[in-house]
């Protein structure tokens, strides 16, 4: 018993955090897209370490759709939902029904990268249509040799993120135009597993956000896509706004509950910090930055929410 009380005293003494703080406390809960996760995790960590140590920012990565289900709840739920696709009609309707005012914040630009195994030296570039056919049930491409003459006579192994993920949805809706995926595709919840599987399977081909390719260039190849004007390699340059990789590029977002931001200063504070630093953080985590003007507009909008908050607060305190 003595030991336990000693332990208790030790822990409470140790627990005090040293770090920067302007006195903000509380937590910020973020969930959603696994693609956006590295960006948000970076922003969260920088925020906590450099600015507000007493605010606990938690970032999880259940997937865009799974995240929305946790976001759109009556009481509680997450404060932000990261999304690698824009919010759907039915999700907006749900938000309205629950009385939640949701603000869309564009945080970065991402390019869907088609990745292959390091030893795949035949499919270094494919046409837009070939990529679609490989992943379509109706595409009829079971073996690499079906895609092009001279490709190996081996079965194609397809991989991708599962239906919880916005990346999956974007790929299916926009690129495959909502046609059925080939039925033996191996869908995974974790991007780490996807990277691992493609990097160890000679005949693999998969798709995910550029960031996960960029940090694993030593294990994976990115296929150059020919959209009609010659093969384009996905790079930070080409996935920029109006870049050559445009058909496979998409903006990624985070959605904020305005009500929560007004009531909890730390949530609003983090939102402003995130939008101010999204540009630099994007490049560090494998995204192209959103044009500065748009980021600035977001920051101003959020600051606008603050003054409403400030007035209410001063009257309470």
């Amino acid at each position: 018993m003595i030991f336990l009380s000693m332990l208790f005293v030790f822990l409470t003494a140790c627990g005090g955090d040293e770090g920067n703080s302007t006195g903000l406390e509380g937590s910020v809960v973020i969930d959603g897209s696994g693609t956006v996760y590295p960006l948000m995790a970076r922003l969260a960590e920088d925020y906590m370490v450099n600015k507000e140590i007493n605010v606990s920012v938690e970032v999880s990565r259940s997937g865009t759709s799974a995240g929305f289900k946790k976001f759109l709840v009556q009481d509680g739920g997450t404060d932000f939902n990261d999304a690698s696709r824009s919010i759907k009609e039915e999700e907006l309707a749900e938000a309205e029904k629950l009385g939640l005012s949701v603000k869309e914040l564009k945080v970065a630009l991402d390019g869907i990268t088609i990745v292959t195994n390091k030893e795949n030296d035949w499919a270094t570039e494919l046409t837009h249509q070939e990529v679609i056919d490989i992943f379509l049930a109706s595409g009829g491409k079971k073996k690499w040799s079906d895609v092009r003459e001279g490709f190996p006579d081996e079965p194609i192994k397809t991989y991708g993120p599962n239906e919880n993920h916005g990346t999956y949805e974007f790929f299916w809706e926009t690129i495959l135009e909502e046609q059925d995926l080939v039925d033996d595709i191996n869908l995974q919840q974790d991007y780490a597993t996807l990277v691992d599987l493609v990097s160890k399977q000679k005949n693999a081909i998969g798709f995910f956000g550029y960031g996960y390719y960029e940090s694993n260039k030593d294990k994976l190849n990115a296929v150059k896509i020919d959209f009609g004007n010659g093969p384009v390699e996905p790079t930070l340059e080409t996935i920029k706004e109006d870049g050559a990789y445009a058909p496979f590029t998409r903006p990624v977002f985070t959605y904020l509950k305005e009500g929560v931001a007004k009531e909890e200063p730390q949530v609003l504070d983090f939102a402003i910090y995130a939008m101010k630093n999204a540009g630099t953080a994007a490049q560090k985590t494998g995204f192209a930055p959103v044009p500065e003007k748009e980021l600035q507009a977001s920051v101003e909008y959020l600051e606008g929410l603050k003054s409403v908050n400030g007035e209410e607060n001063s009257s309470n305190k």
Partner: protein, 314 residues
């Protein structure tokens, strides 16, 4: 005279005090058994809690999914619009991984037990037995790390068709993890066979091996078999090793070189994506957990029954 009187006074004081304390003491004395009874009941409440928790949500599940689809369905695709909830892929994953584990643990565990109990000298036994205990004390997450970072790559060089996530590697590692359990319990069972029986056999001219095989093991059989059953139960309930090393493929297959998912790994995956409360996906979590619980409960009851019923009395 004075001293004696003083002593008497002191004793009298003590008796006075005791009389006053008695009332408090007798309250404590009466209440303590009741209080401890309540404490002991908590363990029963826990079991009831587990059963109720699992049962209520499983009932919800079976409102959405039929018994037939769940227990005989070979298609498990819980996400997406056309969700299917057949448990057979998970059951095969669990059974195959446990079987592989038992193929490793039973022979090695039993042979180790035989060595320690029948052949090893006291000194050797005293050194080796604690080392086996160390194996038992290693957290399963460490075994999971080992399976994923060392065993799988090693096996992939030997078996070319082996997928990066497969069921063979964690199965083997689970087996190693269970060896100490089988070795220890079997050794206990064999040690409690009286020496008189061994000596009788040896006196008749049997070799040590024959004595062990024909006298000791049959006599200790109930304890040995009980240890096997407990080992299987442990393998069925193991989570981290298979979650890390075996991936999350829900294909219904018997190919050990492929990725498979066990019931336990499914639970980890679904809670990781944190299914929203009230969805079929959320209830499937409980339905699978219920199945798992029933499996292990049956195994444990069998083990207890075997060790009690067939124990040879000496």
């Amino acid at each position: 005279m004075d001293n004696e009187q003083n002593r008497d006074l002191k004793v009298r004081e003590m008796i006075q005090q005791n009389k006053q304390n008695v009332s408090l003491n007798s309250v404590t004395e009466k209440l303590m058994p009741r209080f401890l009874f309540v404490v002991a009941i908590i363990s029963i409440i826990t079991t009831i809690g587990i059963v109720i928790t699992l049962l209520t949500e499983t009932v919800h599940f079976f409102r959405d999914v039929s018994f037939a689809e769940f227990f005989t369905g070979t298609e498990l695709s819980p996400l997406g619009s056309d969700a299917e909830f057949g448990i057979l892929p998970l059951v095969t994953g669990t059974i195959i991984s446990s079987t592989i584990a038992m193929f490793v643990a039973i022979p090695i565990g039993l042979m180790s037990a035989i060595f320690l109990s029948e052949y090893a000298s006291e000194g050797v036994r005293r050194t080796l037995k604690p080392l086996l205990e160390v194996l038992a004390g290693i957290p399963t997450i460490v075994y999971g790390f080992f399976a994923f970072t060392f065993v799988t790559p090693l096996l992939r060089t030997i078996i070319p068709g082996l997928e990066p996530t497969n069921i063979l590697s964690p199965g083997l590692v689970m087996g190693v993890m269970i060896i100490p359990m089988i070795a220890s319990l079997s050794e206990d069972a064999m040690s409690s066979v009286p020496n008189a029986m061994r000596e009788g056999a040896l006196a008749l001219g049997a070799t040590k091996l024959e004595t062990t095989w024909r006298v000791v093991i049959p006599a200790a059989m109930s304890g040995i078999v009980a240890s096997f059953v407990l080992g299987i139960s442990r393998a069925i309930g193991e989570t981290m090793i298979v979650t890390i090393a075996s991936g999350s493929s829900k294909n219904f297959t018997f190919d050990v070189t492929q990725s498979m998912q066990t019931m336990t790994a499914y639970i980890v995956e679904v809670t990781g994506g944190e299914a929203p409360a009230g969805s079929t996906l959320y209830y499937s979590l409980y339905a699978v957990a219920m199945t798992l619980f029933v499996f292990t409960l049956i195994m444990n009851l069998i083990a207890q029954y075997i060790s009690k019923r067939f124990r040879e009395g000496y």
